[in-house]
Symmetry: C2
Subunit: 343 residues, 2 copies
């Protein structure tokens, strides 16, 4: 199916409206009505026409859209917004502003439909408005996070994972959503090298030049030369040396309480951290919610705004669509790169 | 010796000039010359007259000071700055701007002298300009940090530890300078309760009212109801309930990547964290270096600016004395409280 893409064509990005109980439909309508990403991507909405209409009403915007039964029917370029209408989600049957197992189940189904399109090379990337993890779980999609779900649905076997992009830098994780005790057991050289290589590959797809990658230490003060733990000496430093030998511009191990100060000063493009909170403590203080979350390392590109469903402001028209626009732009850049690699 | 203090008298604070290789003497001279804390404390410098003179020269300030052989000879109030001259540190014999085992050894000796004065109730608190950990270590003071050193020298046996004070809130630690793997084994209810009680007691000494204390979770998302670890359910929550039952206003466990956002919004006076980097990642991004470090829970009060010896700007007259002034003020408040408790 790769032949269906012609060189130089804008990437085709599938936009999923998010969990229908949250602000997803509203921010999607805002971004689409503003034509905010028309310069970088052909965006096709995949979902239910009634949910999109609800989003337009919430946002107080008009939008020229047209429903299709299948992505193959959509010709590009076009002035209106094409919607692949799955007809699966009736907003009248779902209470907004709270966790709904049914809405979670449907969100998962819609994503699965889109993943199949992407695997058939009919989408170059998938961008989704905020999901609700609890709803997905209750709706039967029992994964520790959406990244694991996407890895399973794309039948991926190697290393992959969450990338968080804020204004100043991006973060990657050696371990993620599991108990800290268990995470310690998974901080091994093989995974550290894989995370560094993933960071290098992903940042290269986003910007020119050789990415400068910082790798966090595990122990306080980076282990203080072995006084407070020797993981840095036994595991992390050798992994960094291996990545350097493979041509990656990577540095560390750097104590976790100074690595983000240095990244903020512009010293690094990406930070590879050992466990979830190491990076999340920093990025949440630095504007995480305005940033973008990417599932990196899979055959299919996935991006989403880092913020959540914001149940407290659902239906009020005041949700900020900035992070979604940024997520769509990142999806377009990564999707265009994937397109190049295929052709 | 408690009888030697009269009610209402300003606390007597011993000021130690820090490691002589760093900016300590300079910032001490600046604060003393400005008379910045005369309203809240009687400050006696303990050290070497030649080091103080060097600090005055670095700072470009004049200072009316007078040397004494012992603290008992100093009468209060007074207009000049009294110096207990130990005559132990000749600046001419020490290279500045680099780690010196000899300077570290002498810094430790000076602190030990001051601790003996405090234990004899002749000082209400000890404030020290920046030390150099590596120098202390090489100089024979082989502790994991200065807090352990002070606990040993004051012959303290219970729970005690580092408190970091930034503009918006203070942090306390259940575990500190040891490998993360080892720290996990020490995150037990008894120590968590002790850390919460220490936070409560220390903040009460600093400000009126009941301190609002937040307690961090250990695992990502606070364990996500047991999905990512059950330490929160088995250990941390019961410890918080025990502290609440003892009358402390404490909250949690709160996921580590949101607890500092809430503290920044003014919801809490103190954050109790489970391990070193949890708090240090946050506070270093939030202005840690302008803050103050306190050794909390010992019979003797210890405070110091959170920043280091700043070897890169030694002798240039441009070191900022703001954090030292803040450290002296905190020392005075904690010292006055200790005075009240003794009387």
């Amino acid at each position: 199916m790769a032949s269906s893409f012609s060189a130089g064509r804008l990437p085709v990005i599938g936009l999923m409206l998010g969990d229908a109980t949250g602000i997803g439909p509203e921010i999607c309508a805002k971004v689409l009505a503003a034509g905010a990403v028309r310069d970088v991507a052909h965006v096709a909405v995949v979902g239910d026409a009634r949910v999109l209409a609800m989003g337009m009403q919430d946002a107080g915007v008009g939008l020229a859209w047209r429903a299709f039964r299948a992505i193959d029917e959509v010709a590009w370029p076009r002035d209106d917004v094409p919607l692949i209408d799955l007809g699966n989600t009736d907003p009248a049957s779902i209470r907004r502003g709270e966790v709904s197992a049914e809405s979670g189940r449907l969100a998962g189904e819609t994503l699965k439909y889109m993943i199949d399109l992407a695997l058939a090379a009919k989408l170059d990337g998938i961008c989704f408005a905020p999901l609700n993890k609890a709803a997905l779980h209750r709706g039967g999609w029992e994964y520790h996070d959406e990244h694991q779900m996407f890895a399973a649905l794309t039948r991926h076997s190697g290393f992959s994972g969450e990338m968080n992009v804020i204004k100043e830098f991006a973060t990657f994780r050696v371990t993620s959503h599991l108990a800290l005790r268990e995470a310690l057991g998974l901080i091994i050289a093989e995974r550290i090298v894989a995370a560094i290589m993933l960071a290098d590959r992903t940042i290269r797809a986003l910007q020119p030049g050789k990415p400068r990658i910082a790798v966090a230490a595990l122990n306080p003060h980076g282990g203080e030369n072995g006084l407070f733990g020797d993981d840095e000496i036994r595991i992390i430093r050798p992994a960094i040396e291996e990545a350097c030998a493979a041509g990656v511009d990577c540095h560390g191990p750097i104590p976790a309480d100074t690595i983000f100060l240095r990244a903020m000063r512009g010293e690094f493009d990406a930070v590879v951290m050992m466990y979830h909170d190491q990076g999340q403590i920093a990025t949440k203080l630095l504007g995480f919610n305005k940033g973008v979350t990417v599932t990196a390392g899979l055959k299919t590109v996935f991006t989403t705004p880092a913020h959540g469903t914001a149940f407290d402001i659902v239906g009020q028209g005041k949700a900020d669509a900035g992070a979604l626009e940024h997520a769509l732009r990142l999806c377009a850049r990564l999707g265009a790169n994937a397109q190049r690699l295929r052709s």
